[in-house]
Each structure stands twice: as C-alpha cells, then as structure tokens.
C-alpha cells in the first residue's frame, strides 16, 4: 500500500569501494543518534589502539563505542552532531595504525560459528553494533526476544529504497559470503530456521550474488522486491515478504519477525567471527554535480571535511549537504561534523534544488492519503498539528507515522506535512509517556 517513486539517481551504483585514508584527528561521538550517550572509558592523554573500548553502554538503549584509530586521546569534549546539538565525543589524534591483537585481520572467511545464542548476543553487544540502516537502534536489544514472544523468521533488509544511496548495494556485491554467514549467525542467535533477504529489483546483480551464496546455507531465501519508496521500512518490508501486517503501535516481533539491515549483518559477522567491533562502515559520497560519486570505507569519527577533501571536494553549486538519503536524511547545519555509526552517505544537493517550494493551500487532492504507506491521512494530521489538537491527532494514529516523507514529497501544494506530523508525534509521545507514569 502507498509509497512513492522518487527519481533513483543512483550515480554511484556498481562503483568499487575505496578506502578513505586516515585523518589527522577523529571525533568519535559517544552518542549515535538514538539512546543514551555511553560513558567514556578513556581519559585525556591515554594511548589507544584500534578496536579498544572507549565508551561503555549506559542504560538499556545504548551501545559500546570503540576507537576506530590508534593514537592519543587529545580530549573528551562536546561535539556537534547532525542535529546541531552538542553531545560528548572522544577526540583522538591519529598515530600510526596499531590494531588490538585479538582482532583477526586475515582475509580468509570463517564459516563455522559454534557459539551459543546468548554468547552471540553478548558478543554483538560488546562490539557496539547498532542498526546501520540509519536509526542506529542497538542490535543486541533487537536480538533479545522478549519473554512470551517467539521469533519465526529473520528478515534482512537489502532494499535500499532511498534514492542516491548505494552503500548497501555495493556491500552485497563485495561481501556476499560474509553477509550470508552473518545471517546464519543471527538465525542461530534468535533461534529461527528461516531467513528472507529482501532486495529491490533494481539491484538484480546483488540478488544473484546473494542467491549464489545463500545456496551454501540452509533456510536463507532471497526475494526481489518491487522498486518503491519506502520499501525498506521495517513494517512495509515485513508485509511485502511475509504478508503479515504489524498491528498499530506494536513491534515486528508481534508477528514473529526480526528485521536487520544487510550492513548490520556484515558487522555481526565481523564481530562474532573476527572479533572486530563496529569501527568502520561504507558511506556513499554522491550528488548531481559530484564529479566522481563513489562508495568508501571510512572509520567512524572521520571528519566530513576530510572525506570531502579525499573525494574531490565540494561541488561549486552545493546548496545543501545531507547525511543519509534525500528522503529521510538530515540536512547538516555545519560541515564540522564527523561520521557516526548511522551515517550512510554524504549527499550534495545543488542550490537549485535545495530550497522548498512556495506553500499553497491544500486542494484536497488526497494524494498524501493515497501514497501514505501507513494508511494515515497526512492532510488531516497536519491541520490538527497546526491547531495543536493533540488528542485528535492521537485518535488519528499519528504515532504510526514513520516519517518517511512520502506525503511531503507528493504534495502538489508543497505543504509541510511531515513537519507538523513530527511536531504532533513528539507532543503526543510525551503525553502518552506522562499518562503511563501517572498511572503507575
């Protein structure tokens, strides 16, 4: 149901990954978009190695943070994140490239994993793995199935429905075997016999590659999906692959599904089989005026300015720089930022496309209703948001909104639908939380 078809613009598709050289200094955020900031485990002046723990998870929704480089901790201070707010980060001056001894750097692929499920989850938690699709929810929390619930199927998200992005596509082409082993490890961790990989059918090379490797393991199936946005959203993906609909307000586990991104799966493979924590990821550097769009391996904490320099500089006509895809990514308030675990791309948008159009009145065309993947009525929610009718917004299921932006994209009057819906979500969310605390 619903969904839109934005121009794909996948300029960097099929470009082999390159490695970005080490910068002089990395700024590793202790908070990666969601959850509590972790607590710094190192102090100023300390010498750290690649892979060393520098931040310990603090609370339930929080993940460990590891050093992505070797060198000296120059300071622990606040640094700006992609939201423009300041959060604690560890600044490390890079000296050489000295890895921890227990990390297996050999190129050979380790296929066999003899660990027990709880040991796998423990290893994933220690490696600080978070969902690399963008939401950066700690993976070990997702793998710990709540009591009374049973997982039946593992769903792997290789849809990559955001325009421009190709980092997951490239990973599936280059690391097919590792991804499949990662999937088998995850299947063991959540005790399921079946896994489905969903890939949009504009990436048939990735489908064929994963199908080839999937034959070597039992219970893994690759399914090509219709190309549309937001195909890779958790609830849409579950419906497309299993036909089951996640009830309003419930989590995927309600219908027996656990969803993980392909990049997360690869990180799980590296953590469990190679003892390598999450310290690097692929990002796509792209844009209409970028001379050579491409996919790059970068260490977490690498400053954006360094990546832009290495990849040929910022195009002259840039009006906006976005971290992530054009639909759900964040326009950056400044370039003095560094790569966080959830940063999937640096996207340069030319100034001709960077501004919003003039807002006109709603013409009741109902395109937003037709295209909403969650079956909501965005025009109604926006009107209620403008008038601050929070209770009515709650009744109209504002909390089900996944903020995919399809309504704003399709609106012929350029109405700021998502802005008001997001406003409503945050207020209604606070309202619901307050109600719960008052009850108990």
């Amino acid at each position: 149901m619903g969904g839109v078809h934005p121009p794909e613009n996948k300029f960097s598709a099929g470009k082999k990954t390159k490695i970005i050289s080490l910068p002089q200094q990395v700024i590793i955020p202790l908070r990666h978009y969601s959850g509590n900031p972790s607590v710094a485990e190192v102090s100023r002046g300390e010498i750290v190695k690649v892979g060393q723990l520098i931040g310990r998870a603090n609370g339930f929704i929080s993940a460990n943070v590891h050093s992505s480089v070797s060198g000296k901790v120059s300071k622990i201070d606040n640094a700006m994140d992609a939201f423009g707010y300041k959060f604690p980060a560890v600044f490390i001056d890079v000296i050489g490239d000295d890895w921890l001894d227990e990390i297996d750097l050999s190129p050979e692929v380790k296929r066999v994993c003899n660990l027990e499920p709880h040991e796998i989850i423990k290893k994933v938690a220690e490696a600080g793995i978070v969902g690399l699709g963008g939401a950066t929810f700690p993976t070990h929390v997702k793998l710990s199935i709540p009591q009374g619930k049973k997982a039946e199927v593992l769903i792997i998200n290789g849809a990559e429905c955001e325009p421009y992005l190709t980092c997951d596509h490239q990973l599936m082409l280059e690391k097919g075997e590792e991804i499949i082993i990662g999937i088998s490890i995850l299947m063991k961790a959540i005790r399921v016999k079946k896994a489905i990989i969903g890939i949009e059918s504009n990436k048939m090379d990735a489908v064929l590659n994963l199908e080839k490797w999937a034959k070597t393991m039992e219970g893994i199936e690759v399914v090509p999906l219709k190309v549309k946005y937001p195909q890779g959203s958790e609830k849409q993906l579950i419906q497309a692959l299993t036909g089951r609909e996640v009830p309003s307000g419930a989590l995927p586990i309600e219908v027996g599904a656990v969803v993980q991104n392909v990049a997360t799966t690869f990180a799980v493979y590296e953590a469990v089989q190679k003892n390598k924590p999450l310290i690097e990821r692929i990002i796509t550097v792209t844009g209409k005026s970028v001379p050579e769009p491409g996919n790059y391996w970068v260490r977490i904490g690498t400053p954006f300015t360094h990546i832009i320099e290495e990849t040929g500089g910022m195009p002259q006509d840039t009006g906006k720089v976005v971290a992530g895809g054009p639909m759900m990514g964040r326009a950056l308030p400044s370039l003095d930022l560094s790569v966080a675990k959830g940063t999937s791309s640096i996207l340069f948008i030319p100034s001709s496309e960077s501004k919003r159009g003039k807002v006109f009145n709603c013409i009741r065309c109902a395109k937003c209703v037709f295209h909403c993947p969650m079956g909501l009525e965005p025009y109604l929610l926006m009107n209620q948001g403008e008038k601050q009718m929070w209770e009515n917004m709650e009744e109209n299921r504002v909390m089900d909104c996944i903020e995919c932006g399809s309504c704003s994209f399709i609106c012929p009057s350029n109405r700021p639908l998502v802005d008001y819906i997001r406003y409503g979500k945050s207020t209604v969310g606070t309202m619901i939380r307050n109600r719960k605390t008052h009850k108990s």
């Binding site: 201070d77 606040n78 700006m80 992609a82 939201f83 423009g84 707010y85 300041k86 964040r330 326009a331 950056l332 308030p333 400044s334 501004k355 919003r356 700021p416 802005d419 008001y420 997001r422 406003y423 945050s426």
Partner: protein
C-alpha cells in the same frame, strides 16, 4: 383562521407544559453555589489567561472561595490590588505578591550571532527545536520564529524584525507565564519587576564552554566568574558555564554589569551613569 388558532394554542400549550416540567426539574436538580464565587469573579480581570494555574478566572474564583488561606493563590494579571479586593470579599488575608515580568534571556541579535545555515521550513520555534539546533552556531539561544508572540494573549511580546529577538512591552506584560511555557529553549523567565522596573540579569542561557560559545556569539556569557567575584551580596550563582543573578538577593548595585567582559549582563531602566567610559550594552531585549 382555524389553522392559525389551532397552531397557536397547541404550540403555546406545549410551551407552557414544558415550562412547568422544566421548573420542577430545575427545583429537583438545583445546585447550591456559593454566591461569593460570582462576586470574586467580578473583581478578577476576566483575562482567562491561565497564569494563576487554573483553567480560567471562574475556576480561580472558586478555588479562592474554597481555600482556607489565600497564601498560594495569586492573580498575576491583577496583582496585589486585585487580590486585596478578593480578600475583602472573602474576609481572608491576601499574601503579598511580588510583581514579576517576563524577561528574554538572549542577546544574540543578527549582528552578534552569525547565521551558519538557513532554515526554510515551518515558522515555529518548537518544530525547529525538535528538528535541529537552529540557524546559528548557538543551539541554546533564541530561534526568533515567535512562538512566544503567538502564545501571548496580552499583545505584550513581539519579535523585533531588526534583531529577530522578542521584546517585552512592560506596560502590557502581566507575567502570566504563557510565553515561558511556549519557548522551547527555556529562554524566557519570570523575574521580579524591581523598584522602578529596574532590573539586572544575565542575558544568556548558553551552557557551552566559554571558548566555544564566544566563537558563535559575541555577547554570550562565557562563565568567567568575574561578576561572581565582584558581587558584594552573593546574589550571583555560577553553574554550567553560566552566571545566574538571583533577583531576590540582588541589590541593583550594577558592579557586575561593569565587569562583564562580553556585556552579557544587562541593566534595564537605570538612569545613565555619570562616570562611565563605555556606553552600557545596547543589546537589551526590552524597551
């Protein structure tokens, strides 16, 4: 003719019968209400602003009548005069109310706080606040989109189009606190109005380190503690790289204003100084 007569008689009959029924229903379900509630409501300003913490003036009047003492009840709009009238009606004693006023604690005008990016979405501070840190390098300061202006029922706070900061009209402000609640950055504070409306306050809420916020705003409080050290009355508290002047302890001696290196401390409505080398900060956000 017959038709008209018939309809007048039948409708009149229904009306008379209904009146009788309603009379008895009203007798049966009559609610005894304290007559003083109406009297109290009559002396209240009828602004229904909610500044007292009650849904409106009548709810406040009812609360006044049922309460044992008036100590915790006060009408910010009417002030002491109104509360004395209320006390007279009820035969209770009104607590002394210190007049307060809304104060905008941000001096980041367009000149002293440069824009680092531009926002072209919905003009609402709360929406921007939920989305990101704002158009300038300071993620603590005023966003200038006027949620406070919208919230004010007394037309007392307006965004100045030159500075893009809100300005409070002292004559109109009733200290109802609506703007304090509306501001997502918690910049607006209700402070003592002070004798002759003279006030001194720290015009900044940035909790970043001094070296960081000095780069993004020229009038930011850098937490240097100079004012803290010079204050003879211990009215200044330091915390989170920020000074805060306690308006209860402050004796308005203006020593802190002189020592502040960034002009982050603002004095309002004072007569001009005789021996003053520099003009006081012109970044005050109020008239």
């Amino acid at each position: 003719m017959n038709l008209i007569l018939a309809s007048v008689v039948s409708l009149g009959g229904i009306g008379a019968l209904s009146a009788v029924i309603l009379y008895f229903i009203a007798q049966k379900f009559h609610v005894e209400e304290d007559a003083r509630i109406d009297e109290v409501e009559a002396v209240l300003p009828a602004a229904n602003c909610g500044g007292c913490g009650f849904p409106g003036c009548r709810a406040f009047a009812a609360a006044c009548v049922t309460a044992d003492t008036l100590d915790n009840l006060s009408c910010p709009v009417g002030g002491t005069a109104t509360m004395e009238k209320v006390a007279d009606i009820l035969g209770k004693k009104a607590a002394a109310v210190v007049p307060t006023i809304a104060v905008v604690r941000c001096g980041g005008t367009c000149e002293v706080r440069e824009k680092t990016n531009s926002y072209d979405g919905v003009k609402s501070c709360t929406i921007v606040h939920n989305l990101y840190g704002g158009e300038t390098g300071c993620s603590w300061g005023c966003l200038g989109l006027g949620d406070c202006e919208v919230s004010c029922t007394f037309d007392a706070i307006h965004i100045n189009p030159e500075t893009m900061l809100p300005e409070v009209d002292e004559d109109k402000c009733t200290a109802c606190g609506a703007c304090v609640k509306a501001c997502p950055k918690n910049i607006i504070e209700l402070r003592r109005k002070g004798p002759k409306s003279r006030r001194i306050y720290v015009n900044c809420v940035n909790k970043d380190k001094g070296a960081v916020n000095k780069k993004v705003c020229k009038v930011a409080c850098i937490g240097c503690s100079k004012c803290f050290n010079v204050c003879p009355y211990e009215a200044i508290e330091m915390g989170n790289n920020l000074a805060y002047i306690d308006s209860e302890k402050c004796k308005l001696c203006r020593k802190c204003v002189e020592v502040c290196p960034t002009n982050a401390i603002v004095e309002l409505n004072f007569p001009p100084r005789k021996t003053k080398i520099e003009e006081p900060s012109t970044t005050g956000t109020e008239k």
